[in-house]
C-alpha cells in the first residue's frame, strides 16, 4: 500500500501528463532540437573559422627597413589590420585592456642594430588571448613572418644572418588567458553549457506554470505528494536531455572532429548524472519563483556563474580562489572535467570518480531542497 509513502501510480500519472503536455508544446519541442544546433553552430563554427582582420597596433621604437618590411608583411596578411602606432608599452597595454586592439607589436629601440650584429633580438607580440580562439592562428602566422622577412630582406652581406635559425625571434605574450583553450576543449564543454541552459530553462517554469494557470490548486487538492510531482515532472526532461547529448556528441565527432578517446557508456552516464543535477535545480527554482518572469530571472542567475566559473570560459586553475570556490559548487565544473576527460584523455572510471560523486551529492541535496521548497498549500 502507498497510503502515506511514495505512490508509483501517482508518480507515473505525473510523468504521463508531462509527456502529453510536452508533446503538444511545439515551441518547447522545437527548442529542444534547435538550441543545441544553434549553439553548436555559433560557438563551434566560430572556433573553427580562423578569425581575420584583427585590430593591431605597432610600437615602433626603432624604424628600419627590416621593421617596415615586417610591419608590411603583417599588413598584407589577412589576419591583421594595423590600426595605428602607439608611443610606448603602457599605451599598448591600455589598448589591449580596453579591447581596442587584439595585438600589439612592440619593436624595441635597438632592434635593427642588434639584428645586424647577429644577436637575434626579440620582437614582442602581445596578444589579448582572453578569447584564445581569436589569437591562436594569428600568433602562428606572426612566427612565420619572421622567417619569411628574414629570407627576403637579408640578402648580400647580410645573407649569413638568414641561414639556419631566423635572424630574429618573436616572443609572444598571451595576456589574460595563459592556458589557451583549444577547440577540442570548447566543443565538449558546450555539451554541458547547452544541457544546463535547456534543462534548467525547461523545468524552471514547470511548477510556476501550474501556479500561474491555476492548475496547482487542483493538483494540491489531490493526494499527490511533493516528491511524486517533482520527480515525475523531471522524467520527460531526462529523455530530452539524452537526445540533446546525442546531437552534440554526433556533431562534435563528425562536424568538429573532436577525438573520442573514452567510452560511450561513460559519456552517457556522466550526461545522465549531469542532466539530473540540472533538472533538480530547475524544479527548485520553479518552486521558489512567484511567477514565470521570476522563474526566468532565477534561471539566468543560475546560468551565468555556470558559464563563467565552471572552466568553460576561463581555465579553472587560472581563476582566483573565490571564483574556484564558487565553481566547485557548480555541476557544470564537474561535468566539464568528466566530458573533457573522457573524450580527450580517455579517462577511465578511477579518474572519473572524483568528479562523479560531487554530481551525485549535488543532485541529492538539491532534490531535498526542491521537495522542501514545494509549497503544499496556497498560503
Amino acid at each position: 500500500m502507498s497510503r502515506n509513502g511514495f505512490s508509483v501510480v501517482r508518480w507515473w500519472s505525473i510523468v504521463l501528463k508531462e509527456f502529453l503536455q510536452l508533446r503538444r508544446d511545439r515551441v518547447t519541442f522545437a527548442m529542444i532540437i534547435l538550441i543545441p544546433l544553434l549553439e553548436l553552430a555559433l560557438f563551434g563554427f566560430a572556433i573553427n573559422t580562423d578569425p581575420k582582420h584583427m585590430p593591431t597596433a605597432i610600437i615602433a621604437a626603432d624604424q628600419s627597413e627590416f621593421t617596415r618590411s615586417y610591419v608590411a608583411a603583417l599588413r598584407n596578411s589577412d589576419y591583421f589590420t594595423i590600426v595605428g602606432e602607439l608611443p610606448d608599452e603602457e599605451a599598448g597595454r591600455a589598448a589591449l585592456a580596453q579591447g581596442q586592439v587584439q595585438f600589439v607589436v612592440d619593436i624595441p629601440v635597438d632592434f635593427t642594430r642588434r639584428l645586424l650584429r647577429g644577436e637575434r633580438p626579440a620582437l614582442l607580440v602581445e596578444a589579448d588571448a582572453s578569447d584564445p580562439t581569436a589569437t591562436g592562428l594569428a600568433l602562428a602566422a606572426v612566427q612565420q613572418f619572421a622567417q619569411s622577412v628574414a629570407d627576403k630582406d637579408l640578402i648580400g652581406p647580410l645573407a649569413a644572418l638568414a641561414g639556419g635559425q631566423p635572424a630574429f625571434d618573436v616572443q609572444v605574450h598571451r595576456l589574460y588567458n595563459p592556458e589557451g583553450i583549444t577547440q577540442y576543449n570548447v566543443v565538449p564543454g558546450l555539451m554541458g553549457v547547452i544541457l544546463t541552459m535547456t534543462m534548467v530553462m525547461m523545468t524552471g517554469l514547470a511548477i510556476t506554470r501550474e501556479h500561474e494557470r491555476g492548475t496547482m490548486e487542483n493538483l494540491l487538492a489531490t493526494p499527490v505528494r511533493p516528491l511524486e510531482v517533482i520527480s515525475g515532472k523531471i522524467i520527460p526532461y531526462i529523455a530530452i536531455g539524452l537526445v540533446q547529448a546525442t546531437i552534440i556528441l554526433v556533431a562534435s565527432r563528425y562536424v568538429f572532429n573532436v577525438p573520442f578517446a573514452g567510452s560511450v557508456a561513460a559519456v552517457y552516464l556522466s550526461a545522465l548524472l549531469f542532466i539530473a543535477a540540472n533538472l533538480t535545480v530547475g524544479i527548485t527554482l520553479s518552486s521558489l519563483a512567484q511567477n514565470q518572469l521570476q522563474g526566468v530571472q532565477l534561471t539566468f542567475f543560475y546560468f551565468l556563474p555556470n558559464i563563467l566559473l565552471s572552466g568553460f570560459m576561463f581555465p579553472f586553475q587560472g581563476m582566483p580562489g573565490w571564483a574556484r570556490a564558487i565553481g566547485s559548487a557548480l555541476p557544470l565544473t564537474y561535468f566539464n572535467r568528466l566530458i573533457r576527460g573522457i573524450l580527450l584523455k580517455g579517462n577511465g572510471w578511477a579518474d572519473l570518480w572524483p568528479s562523479v560523486w560531487p554530481l551525485i551529492l549535488f543532485t541529492v541535496v538539491v532534490m531535498t531542497v526542491a521537495v522542501k521548497c514545494y509549497r503544499r498549500t496556497l498560503d
Binding site: N4, V9, K17, Q21, T215, E217, A221, T222, P223, L378
Partner: protein, 321 residues
C-alpha cells in the same frame, strides 16, 4: 478520542480565522454539516467563501481555529481529507492542453483508482462527451468546462463534495440537472457544501450559511435563517414612478431597514415590526397606494444581511486601528 456526536458531522470546524496581510478575510468561522446534507454557502463576492472552502480541504492553513472534515483533523490529516474530498475550484483548473479523456485519466491515476478505465468511460458517458473525448479541454465552452470539472472532482467517489460556485455560467437546464444530481448524491449519503449566488439554488439546499466580510451572519434551514433576522415585510403596490419616489422617501424613517423594488411592488422590511407598520400606514394614508403584509423571504433576508454587514465592516475598520 472523538465523541460519537461529532462523528455524525462531516464538517465540524470552530473558530477558523484567516488573514492575508492585514486583511481579516475569515473571522471566527464555525460550521457544522451533517452526513447527506447539502449546505448552501452564500455571501457577496470577496466575503471569504473560497478562502473558507480552501481551509476545509487543506489548501490553506487557518491562522487559528480547529476542526475536522470527515472526522479527520483539518490541520494534521489533510492527506486523508484530500483522498476523500472532491473539490471543485471556482476557476476552472484542469489542464487545457490535455484532452478531456486525458484529464479524467490523470485524475483517476492520482487517486489510484482500481478500475480506472471504466470509471473514466462512465464519467464520459455521464457527461455525454464520449464522442469528444479526444478534444483538447481548452477548446471547450465555459458550461462544458464546468460540467467536466464537476465530473472530474466526483470521479473518485468522494464522501464530501466542496463545490465553489459550480454553476456559474451554466445554462438553466444544465443547472437543473446538476441540482437533481446533487440531491441524488445527498440521498446516497454524500455530504455537499456548495457556494452559490443564485437565490433559487439557495432554496434547494437543506441548510444555508451566509457569510459576509468573513463573518458568518446566519446559519440553518431557510426557515431558520429567515426567522433569525426577525424581519417584518410589507409590499406597497402603486404607480411605478410614485414607488421610486416613495422608496427614497422611506429611507431612514423609523422602523424601515430595507426597501427593495420587487416586480411591480415596493417591498419594505424592518426589524421593528410595530414602528415599520406605523411609518408605512402614515406614508400611504390617503394616497393611491395599496399596503399589504408580505411573507419575509430569503431574498429579503440576504439583501438585509448584505447591507447590514457593509456597515459592520466600516465600523470594525474604524475601531480596528
Amino acid at each position: 478520542m472523538k465523541d460519537s456526536a461529532n462523528l455524525s458531522y462531516m464538517i465540524d470546524v470552530r473558530g477558523l480565522n484567516k488573514r492575508f496581510g492585514d486583511k481579516h478575510v475569515v473571522r471566527d468561522l464555525s460550521l457544522q454539516v451533517q452526513r447527506g446534507e447539502i449546505l448552501g454557502f452564500l455571501g457577496p463576492n470577496g466575503s471569504g467563501k473560497t478562502t473558507s472552502i480552501r481551509m476545509l480541504c487543506g489548501l490553506l492553513t487557518p491562522d487559528s481555529g480547529s476542526g475536522s472534515c470527515l472526522g479527520y483533523d483539518i490541520l494534521k490529516q489533510s492527506d486523508q481529507i484530500k483522498r476523500n474530498v472532491g473539490y471543485m475550484t471556482q476557476k476552472f483548473s484542469y489542464w487545457d492542453d490535455l484532452t478531456i479523456r486525458e484529464n479524467l485519466d490523470f485524475v483517476a491515476r492520482l487517486y489510484e483508482m482500481p478500475d480506472r478505465k471504466r470509471a473514466v468511460d462512465e464519467a464520459l458517458e455521464g457527461l455525454r462527451l464520449t464522442s469528444r473525448a479526444q478534444q483538447l479541454t481548452g477548446t471547450l465552452s465555459g458550461g462544458w468546462k464546468q460540467r467536466l470539472a464537476l465530473a472530474a472532482c466526483m470521479l473518485h467517489k468522494p464522501r464530501l463534495l466542496l463545490l465553489d460556485e459550480p454553476t456559474a455560467g451554466v445554462d438553466p437546464a444544465a443547472r437543473r440537472d446538476f441540482w437533481e444530481e446533487l440531491h441524488e448524491l445527498a440521498a446516497q449519503g454524500i455530504t455537499v457544501l456548495v457556494s452559490t449566488h443564485y437565490m433559487d439554488e439557495a432554496e434547494r439546499c437543506h441548510k444555508l450559511a451566509y457569510i459576509s466580510y468573513g463573518a458568518l451572519l446566519a446559519q440553518g434551514t431557510a426557515a431558520e435563517v429567515i426567522e433569525s433576522q426577525g424581519l417584518s415585510t410589507w409590499a406597497i403596490h402603486g404607480d411605478a414612478d410614485r414607488l421610486v419616489e416613495l422608496s427614497r422617501q422611506l429611507r431612514g424613517q423609523p422602523g424601515v431597514d430595507l426597501t427593495v423594488a420587487f416586480g411591480s411592488a415596493l417591498h419594505v422590511s424592518g426589524r421593528d415590526g410595530a414602528a415599520l407598520e406605523r411609518t408605512l400606514r402614515a406614508v400611504t394614508q390617503g394616497q393611491a397606494l395599496r399596503l399589504e403584509a408580505e411573507r419575509t423571504g430569503l431574498e429579503h433576508v440576504f439583501i438585509f444581511l448584505m447591507r447590514g454587514s457593509a456597515d459592520n465592516f466600516a465600523d470594525t475598520l474604524g475601531a480596528g486601528r
